[in-house]
Symmetry: C2
DNA sequence: CTGCGTTTGTGAATCGTTTCAATTACGCGA
DNA sequence: TCGCGTAATTGAAACGATTCACAAACGCAG
């Protein structure tokens, strides 16, 4: 039924070895022979059977990527970076969506291992258990993304959320703000607590600055709206003069409550900064200052670590890269006439730990 | 190096056939033997080699999905639906992101064919050329998504954008609006021209209704903002009393310009409806009416068509499913006190053509 | 015309799993 | 104890591409 190299060989009047050579080492075969083979391939509509090739090679030509949520721009950007770097190495990326579900995460991990992928990039949902290490030891390199792997002995590419929080609040302080509020969702989320820790650090450096903590139910626009409304209701003297929201969705909700549904001016009365720099931030009524993460670079780098790990079979030495976030200053923190220069954005520098 | 069934068989003191039986037809093998085999598998850390299995089977256990843009919520929802249905059939979905790039689209198609996937779901970027049909004839079922395949003899799951446009404008008319404007990006995009056609059809049914067409540069918030500003500048009598935007991003931009940066009231002065029902629409300052597409159902159905096509090898009969969009009424088209009932949302009914 | 180096082509062996016809073991009634 | 039906197990063949040691063909200097 399906056409195999054997059929192609017969049609072209050569041996299977020659067909394989035409496909894989064209320089080894005479030009006219090669043409005959190519013609035969076209005539017969031959398509390489990847399974057979893989079986022989021992490894597939792709790498697996398991993300928490394909709908999250952070992960799609990350995936793009990974795809690009993989393509440069002649590999393709198979995207698996765990949807924050342990079962599915495990299923994809299993699938990828059975497929003998070149390696797996994964942003694990919960704890990193020994199953990861076992997979690695059986021969499939693993790199954690958006999660530090130091204590698990796994390579990883992570983000410095503490630095991000520090950047945001330092910027607010540098803009002359003193009564700062941090608005954040469940502190059980590592990213949230890290960003808060960074905020605290920045505030602690200035004795005259106060840092209030306002808890939000979740990291959503609606939760932000609720917080914004509460702020709006406060007597003017009781309000913070700056708000650092744990992510942009919250910030957008706050912005809506303050400016559109209320009468508080941003940034004159309250300066506002978010986190993630999602595309909506730039196009908000009042363009939102934010902290940007080099998502694409993370994917790109993760593939690099993977390749390096795949080579050094044997003497395994996990590597860890932590990226620094970048401050993006827009109108929500600096008055148009305020004169303050847009605070040089910190470059995103990889820092090996 | 790597552990094979042979090693497992040796360890358990059985034949390879038995190991395979334990894995694939457990009912055929004695319980105590099965336990011995399982122990051996665990001891040795055996992992099935999918390539070998596939080689034998002739087909892989996954289906390929090529989308235009993983960052687009429409496609991620679609992917979720496809994954769910595939899982019910014991298959997994490999997601390929063509990023609206012909090269990448072709590369993924080739990869999937070489992998002998069960079938391919694809939202093609440009024209559907004969290469699709060739792939199908070679034995890999193909189903087009978000694109009608009737004229190419390929199965497809599409959306009725004309009906969507009709729904939107009919709703505006039913709400008492008469001077309606359609705001849309490049009409070269099929979705845009279809929605416009639907809008025209609805308007044509009411002689007293006028339909203005305002071209936008793109389907983005910024383009919408520009259009909104233009509307705001018009003398009051010159303004439409309702706007149908070709997508939600445009609508949000318009909303911002009218309400937040201007003094036009929505829906009192101008009613506004978008298209796509992205999550931001529900959380806009003024929650946006929109037209929702059953994205998840599309992916789900596409997998069904794929499975059916895979069975009927031989007597191939392409099937076409067109889904109807659904009207979502929110505050941007009905005044809170306006009394108009929230117009029963049309059910999303599959209609085979 | 011989010998040797180079280029080009050959085909059997291999990868690891599944399948299936054949074999063995087992239980039980006669 | 024999025979027979059922259950359990076996092992060799097959899937299709790649590799590699080897052979053939060719060119050319001596």
């Amino acid at each position: 039924m399906t056409v195999s190299v054997k059929d192609v060989a017969a049609r072209a009047g050569v041996s299977v070895g020659t067909v394989s050579n035409v496909l894989n080492r064209p320089e080894k075969v005479n030009e006219t022979t090669a043409r005959r083979v190519h013609d035969a391939i076209a005539d017969l509509g031959f398509v390489r059977n990847d399974a057979a090739r893989q079986l022989r090679e021992g490894r597939s030509r792709s790498i697996g990527l398991v993300v928490l949520d394909v709908a999250n721009p952070f992960f799609t950007d990350l995936a793009r970076g990974a795809e690009n770097r993989a393509a440069e190495n002649g590999l393709s990326v198979l995207l698996g969506n765990s949807d924050e579900n342990d079962e599915r995460e495990k299923a994809y991990l299993e699938l990828f291992e059975e497929q003998r992928v070149h390696g797996v990039l994964i942003s694990p949902r919960g704890e990193v258990d020994e199953s990861f290490e076992r997979i690695r030891r059986r021969g499939t390199p693993i790199v954690l993304v958006d999660r530090d792997g130091t204590e698990h002995g796994l390579s990883s590419v992570a983000l410095d959320d503490v630095a991000g929080g520090y950047l945001a609040v330092s910027h607010l302080i540098a803009s002359g703000r003193r009564r700062i509020a941090f608005v954040g969702g469940p502190v059980s989320i590592r990213q949230v607590s890290d960003r808060l820790a960074g905020a605290r650090k920045a505030a602690a450096e200035h004795p005259e600055v106060t840092l209030d903590i306002i808890l939000a139910d979740s990291l959503s626009v609606l939760a932000g709206r609720a917080v914004g409304e509460e702020l709006r209701e406060r007597p003017e003297g009781d309000r913070p003069d700056a708000v650092f929201a744990a992510n942009d969705l919250l910030a957008i909700g706050i912005l809506q409550a303050l400016v559109m549904l209320g009468h508080v001016r941003v940034p004159e009365d309250i300066a506002l900064i978010g986190y993630d720099d999602i595309s909506f931030s730039a196009t908000a009524v009042i363009p939102l200052s934010s902290v940007r993460q080099p998502s694409e670079l993370i994917g790109y780098t993760a593939v690099d670590l993977l390749m390096r790990e795949a080579e050094q079979r044997g003497d395994y030495a996990p590597e860890h890269v932590v990226f620094q976030p970048e401050l993006v200053v827009r109108a929500s923190t600096v008055s148009p006439e305020g004169g303050r220069e847009g605070a040089a954005a910190a470059e995103a520098l990889p820092a090996a730990h």
